[in-house]
Subunit: 414 residues, 2 copies
């Protein structure tokens, strides 16, 4: 949580942190500014002190909404720097950072850097800054970043924001199921009121509309894929595909608050009308693993242990996994889940790469999403809920939604 | 245009470029991949060769939609690298890049880096890579980047995509005007059908809905601000503000294609019912400058010249400008416009900072947006169209929409 930041900085021997970029669609900056429409900013926080936000004059009102101490970039003469460095924006920007950091008394010790930026810009500007301030060590963290560790557990306020996104997400999933169920079926294909077959593209457009009606964003899109596409985990679905009875649909939806705030993540697998035996068997295997893992999870448990347990269970059921064959595209071919928050994928991690010791802790929000995929058979099944560990150590979905496979169709013409 | 890339690389003595990050909401990667749902990728292009896209196994189908040559990250043993570097993700990532670049024969010469990334990650990983490949010079460009220069002019296909976004944008602006005009007015305030006053928050929700209905995104939000807020250029508007006759509304709308594709940008200033004389005068000043500059623009013209001309004109009319006082918040307080494309703000630049020579060229797409702001008087006026230079050198809005100030209200109760 945010309140852990100073302790985490101490543990990593960081004297200050710098976050750059806009305050929206930029999780690091959003985390400390809370969601405002500031398009360009730098936030500097010394250990033990409150953050300072540098902003443009034009955005002073929006910057003020953060409640943070503010500084206007106009206090520095950037145009003068550009002239001084003969148009070299890398050197001018590095010199501007030097001024800001000097103003904050940060010219030695260790400074860590975060925030969305152009990779080349960041490499060039901070390399130049490092030269300008040789006594200050610039630190870039990959993977195990301080902010991601702070964000491993969520405050009550963050939980409520994610739960609200869960309520919106499940409402839209329910609306989608009802919408599909109300279609007429002819020759095994769903037919829209205009007499033409319903397409995946139309369904996805409705989903976006229902999300927009509820005031949320869908920046990463939605997976709504059928048949062979459903059997490739990240295939988002072909807009011109038709909806046929008995084919598997993987519906993975992950909207966020407007402006790039908190996400929710949920997947259901559906068959319209009926499920073929082969699909039903895979669904039951996935459901069994989902339920078994959920029953085994307990506070203090190590996330990679549960991924490994899911591999055990799938392998016992006769399915290949990435553990038995790292390049398999059949069977259980992805991780068991991921943390959810200001990023759709964040810590905690189920990955066993020896860089972390993420354990189930109160305040953690993460997905559980076992799946099975057989592209050549045209079947994919995934079930995913966003779970949380409550303050008493209970582990459950933030919002409940039925896991049913079959959506009954009543208007079937022979 | 994309076809300029090799020549631009040659002019900058770049042997190769590397673009990192997702293929959506990441303009550099979007530019070369065209809009696919690939969440993590690296694109490498050698001068004179076609690009290669590195992707995850799970995203092979989406990656294939780019039509680019593909390589799967699974060809490298990242887990092994993480073990080798004892969990240090910075060093493991740098080693992975070393392998990818070596596989592509890029171990000497100059390599430029682009794409959305965490700033600290990028600084740390590319610093480590520079150490691993000392004969290769890693280049980060700020401001004047190769890709932004290529994107200075748009192909016919890009123009059509931006024009389509303009048609959607103007349709939603028209729908908003009609929606407001159909409200009842009581005591100078717009009243919704439920009997309560209409708020800015409700209007903005409707705008988002109308955009979603048309299948586009609005990742940066909309400015719809009234009164004093309208007088601060980047204030997005207070959701609880009411809509009062005679107050100025600044409506600045800039949606993009789903997935972070091409943007459009348009601003109108409205007064509901009537315009006070003071507002009308400012509006006429802004409109006069808008029309005068549009009439003066011609192919080959230097963008900063037109900004400077706008300052001349506003100063002649008695308004302060950033040229007369760099810290003024009254008068003409921002640039005259900006390029529009995969970023809402991109090259060409009207800024006169000696780093560029951007001139009006066929295929350029950019805004013209003079404005006047008087926060203490509670008035702001801005008029903005997205213009383009057609192949014959004609300069006009990509899509026409009336510049009218007053929206007549018919249902006024005394």
């Amino acid at each position: 949580m945010k309140s852990d930041l100073d302790a985490l900085m101490q543990a990593r021997n960081l004297d200050a942190i710098l976050i750059t970029g806009p305050a929206f669609h930029n999780p690091a900056m959003y985390y400390l500014t809370g969601g405002v429409h500031v398009s360009e900013a730098d936030l500097i926080k010394k250990r033990g002190s409150a953050p300072i936000l540098y902003h443009k004059t034009m955005e002073r009102d929006e910057a003020a909404r953060t409640g943070l101490a503010l500084q206007d970039y106009a206090g520095f003469d950037y145009s003068g720097l550009i002239k001084q460095y003969r148009g070299n924006a890398v050197l001018a920007s590095a010199a501007l950072y030097q001024m800001m950091l000097t103003e904050q008394g940060i010219t030695s010790g260790r400074l860590a850097i975060y925030g969305q930026s152009d990779a080349g810009n960041a490499y060039a500007i901070f390399s130049a800054l490092q030269t300008l301030l040789p006594d200050l060590t610039l630190v870039g963290e990959a993977g195990d970043s301080l902010l991601l560790l702070a964000r491993l557990t969520k405050s009550a306020d963050e939980i409520e924001r994610i739960r609200r996104m869960g309520q919106i997400t499940t409402a839209v999933v329910g609306q989608t199921a009802e919408y599909l169920a109300n279609h007429t079926v002819e020759a095994g294909v769903l037919i829209a009121p205009d007499g033409y077959p319903l397409t995946i593209g139309t369904v996805k457009k409705r989903i976006n509309l229902w999300l927009a009606e509820r005031g949320v964003e869908n920046p990463e899109g939605t997976i709504f894929s059928i048949g062979r596409d459903a059997a490739v985990p990240h295939s988002v679905g072909n807009p011109s595909d038709l909806l046929r009875l008995g084919q598997t649909i993987v519906f993975d939806i992950y909207p966020c608050e407007a402006g790039g705030g908190y996400f929710y993540d949920l997947t259901r697998t559906w068959c319209l009308g009926y499920a073929p035996d082969e699909t039903l068997q895979l669904y039951e295997d996935v459901l069994a693993v989902f339920r078994q893992i959920l029953s085994e999870m307990q506070p203090g448990g190590f996330y990679p242990h549960y991924h490994s347990r899911a591999c055990d269970l799938f392998e016992e059921l006769g399915h290949p996994t990435l553990r038995t064959n790292p390049r398999t595209t059949d069977g259980f071919v992805h991780g068991l889940g991921h943390g959810v928050g200001l990023n759709i994928h964040e810590r905690p991690s189920y990955g066993n790469n020896a860089t972390h010791d993420d354990c189930l802790s109160p305040g953690a929000v993460f997905t559980l999403e076992p799946g099975l995929y057989y592209p050549e058979r045209g079947i994919g099944v995934r079930l995913e809920d966003t779970l949380w560990v409550d303050p008493e150590g209970g582990i459950r979905p933030l919002v409940e939604y039925p896991l049913d496979l079959v959506i009954p169709m009543s208007k079937v013409k022979k």
